[in-house]
């Protein structure tokens, strides 16, 4: 009997530990909850002239090499280990449209929920930042991000994750992100998410022919801190429209919530089966 008792105590201890851990499953509070108001950016693609100035400002602010913009620039590029943002050109039914690409800074980021070391972190102001001293380089954030934003330095023995952090260090000193601060065409508008949505709505209502009646990022992936206005349908300018309109971390919630249940029920069930079949064998032998 002593063995079984010990087994039982172990099971109880394990269950307690997991229950204690299992409580804070929520990745991060969504916008508005608990008085938190995220800040973000409104990108108006009708105002962008495609000067690529923000790419240079971004490189300068983050100590990255300047982008090489030759004549043979491919029209569609992605962010990379050396570029946190790019501006792409699309020829659409309403002529050329320029689209800036960078981290969307989701309200409930998949990368943050994926990170097992809290290296990816949703700050209270809104930016999703990456913290070098915590990251173990597993790249689960890259697997999880629906926008394919985090990039990894594959050719470094001390690799980093590269992505836009909404100029987190500038924000701390009261400045606004470098791309928005220097945009000559006022295509970028920095503010609280509430302000941005209000402003975007106003622009759509006042110029119904200029914009499609859709604000990209309001619902995508459960809402993002970057919001996009477009003169044409978002499919035409290469924006992912298959992205689900609810939170990505919620996809793993069911599984994670089943963990404490299994940790309580399984040991009890297994111990019961162990006892039941044991007695059976003994009676047979008698």
């Amino acid at each position: 009997m002593s063995i079984t008792r010990r087994g039982f105590f172990k099971a109880v201890c394990a269950t307690g530990a997991v229950l204690a851990l299992g409580r804070e499953l929520q990745a991060s509070p969504s916008a508005g909850k608990g008085g938190i108001e995220y800040r973000g950016m409104l990108y108006d693609s009708t105002l962008c002239k495609g000067c690529h100035g923000c790419e240079f400002d971004c490189a300068e602010a983050n100590g990255l090499p300047y982008p090489e913009l030759g004549q043979d620039l491919p029209p569609i590029r992605t962010t990379s280990e050396t570029q946190r943002t790019v501006v792409n050109t699309y020829s659409t039914s309403k002529g050329e449209v320029f689209v800036k690409v960078q981290c969307m800074h989701c309200n409930e980021p998949a990368c943050v929920a994926a990170c097992l070391t809290q290296a990816m972190f949703k700050s209270k102001a809104g930016p999703v930042i990456w913290r070098e001293d915590k990251c173990m380089g597993c790249r689960y954030c890259m697997v999880s991000c629906p926008f394919n934003i985090p990039k990894f330095e594959y050719h470094s023995p001390n690799p980093k994750i590269i992505k836009c952090d909404l100029c987190y260090n500038r924000l701390k000193t009261g400045e606004i992100p470098a791309c928005a601060a220097n945009c000559p065409n006022e295509a970028l508008f920095y503010g609280t998410r509430r302000q941005l949505i209000k402003e975007a709505r106003r622009r759509i209502v006042e110029n119904p022919t200029k914009y499609v009646d859709y604000l990209y990022g309001e619902d995508e992936a459960g809402g993002t801190c970057w919001l996009y206005l477009s003169p044409v349908k978002f499919e035409e300018i290469g924006m992912k429209t298959t992205i689900q309109k609810s939170s990505y971390p919620a996809l793993t919630k069911g599984f994670l919530y089943s963990v404490p249940t299994i940790f309580v029920l399984f040991p009890a069930l297994l111990l019961g089966m162990h006892q039941a079949t044991k007695n059976d064998h003994q009676t047979k032998e008698e």
């Binding site: 172990k10 929920a113 173990m136 697997v143 050719h155 470094s156 023995p157 992912k240 994670l256 079949t277």
Partner: protein, 402 residues
């Protein structure tokens, strides 16, 4: 004997045990030694120049062969340990006892080496302690759960196997203590296995739009768990057939004869688990309304997996069990294992970003490193089997305790 002398003989015993016991120039050694040496060179390059120096991983496909095969597939194959300990210790099926130790050892080594392979894939492996020591608990992460479960399960399996180590060293008192911990370790181990086998599937839940719809569903965790039962048992059948040939001198006459009944029993369980799995797959397929994908190249690939590597081996298991045909069971187990490799790679590599213009294909160097991990594991497995009572019977003093 004085204490000093005792220590001296203990040390000598250990040194003598380190030496290889079998023949050195076996075909397996001739193939594995150069590959492992090459693999070590490649691992040095990987830490010196970065992961990109020897792998074909891209920004689009950040997890390749090392995760998809070494970890995700390898852990499914290691699932035999929790199923067999369930049969032996929870259901008291004494019949399966002769294969228990080899299966647990195989499972334990698989976890040690696949967790080791995981370290190769980490870009910043020195920070691997962060989620363990408690300063950075990312509790909302499925990977956090999986990492902790790997660690705890390795300890549980070591406890399950430890009586064999004590028997090897002749440590009678420790043996008694360790044997007393077995049932707790087994219960804990089965619970952990349920969660992390399914957890490996849950890892991919957030990659919703990236995995081909025929393989992605919200039931991935359950699929991974159910398939780990027959994946693990097929591995046990396969490994058992090889071990019984290679280490035949170690196995007692009684256990040799018992082997066939054991394999028959496992085949029956495999057939049952595979039927449940196949049924689940059909349910998910109909539930997700995936009919329109069937008449595409990926659809044919899916049907090949479902019919050729699940339905066919399931029926082979059933037929061979009814007819008592051991050879057919072995063929079925190999087909099942191929099917598991196919399924895990379809989720993690082949179906991952299936619509991207450029596909990830592992480099030869990634394959060599994978083989290095597997061969080293087999070396250690062989070393332990030749020394500890794993396949051979336990010494008589150990048996009398029960």
């Amino acid at each position: 004997m004085t204490l000093e002398q005792e220590n001296n003989t203990g040390w000598k015993f250990f040194l003598s045990e380190l030496k290889p016991k079998g023949k050195l120039l076996t075909p397996f050694n001739i193939i594995s030694v150069p590959i492992v040496l090459l693999g070590i060179v490649l691992i040095v390059i990987r830490f010196w120049k970065g992961i990109g120096a020897i792998t074909n991983l891209t920004q689009e496909v950040p997890w390749g062969l090392w995760i998809g095969f070494d970890v995700v597939t390898g852990v499914a194959f290691a699932g035999g340990a929790y199923v067999v300990t369930f049969l032996v210790y929870i259901l008291h099926m004494k019949k399966y006892y002769p294969i228990m130790r080899a299966t647990v050892l195989n499972g334990f080594l698989a976890y040690v080496f696949y967790a080791g392979a995981l370290l190769l894939d980490l870009g910043r492996p020195w920070n691997v302690i962060n989620p363990i020591i408690g300063n950075n608990f990312g509790v909302s992460s499925v990977l956090f759960l999986v990492a902790w479960h790997f660690l705890l399960y390795m300890i549980a399996q070591l406890i399950e196997f430890s009586p064999a180590i004590a028997e090897w060293l002749g440590a009678k008192r420790i043996h008694k203590i360790l044997s007393g911990m077995t049932i707790a370790a087994v219960i804990f181990g089965i619970t952990l296995s349920t969660l992390h086998q399914s957890g490996l599937g849950a890892l991919y839940l957030m990659a919703k739009e990236k995995i081909h719809p025929l393989w992605y569903s919200e039931f991935l965790p359950i699929m991974f768990f159910v398939s780990s039962i027959f994946a693990g048992l097929s591995m046990v059948i396969f490994e058992g057939s090889i071990s019984h040939r290679v280490f035949f001198q170690q196995i007692s006459e009684k256990n040799h004869r018992a082997q066939n009944t054991i394999i028959m029993g496992l085949a029956k369980i495999c057939a049952g688990a595979m039927f449940a799995y196949f049924f689940l797959q059909i349910l998910v397929f109909i539930h997700d309304k995936n009919w329109n994908f069937l008449d595409t190249p990926m659809g044919y690939w899916f049907m090949m997996e479902m019919i050729g590597f699940i339905l066919l081996p399931m029926m082979l298991f059933y037929v061979s069990y009814r007819k008592g045909n051991i050879t057919l069971i072995r063929i079925a187990s190999i087909l099942t294992m191929l099917g598991i490799i196919l399924n895990r790679l379809n989720v993690t590599v082949i179906g991952f970003k299936w619509d991207a213009p450029i596909h990830y294909i592992p480099s030869w160097m990634e394959i060599v490193v994978t083989l290095t991990v597997i061969f080293t594991e087999i070396w250690i497995f062989r070393w332990v089997i030749r020394r500890m009572p794993v396949l051979s019977d336990a010494p008589s003093w150990a048996k009398n305790e029960h």
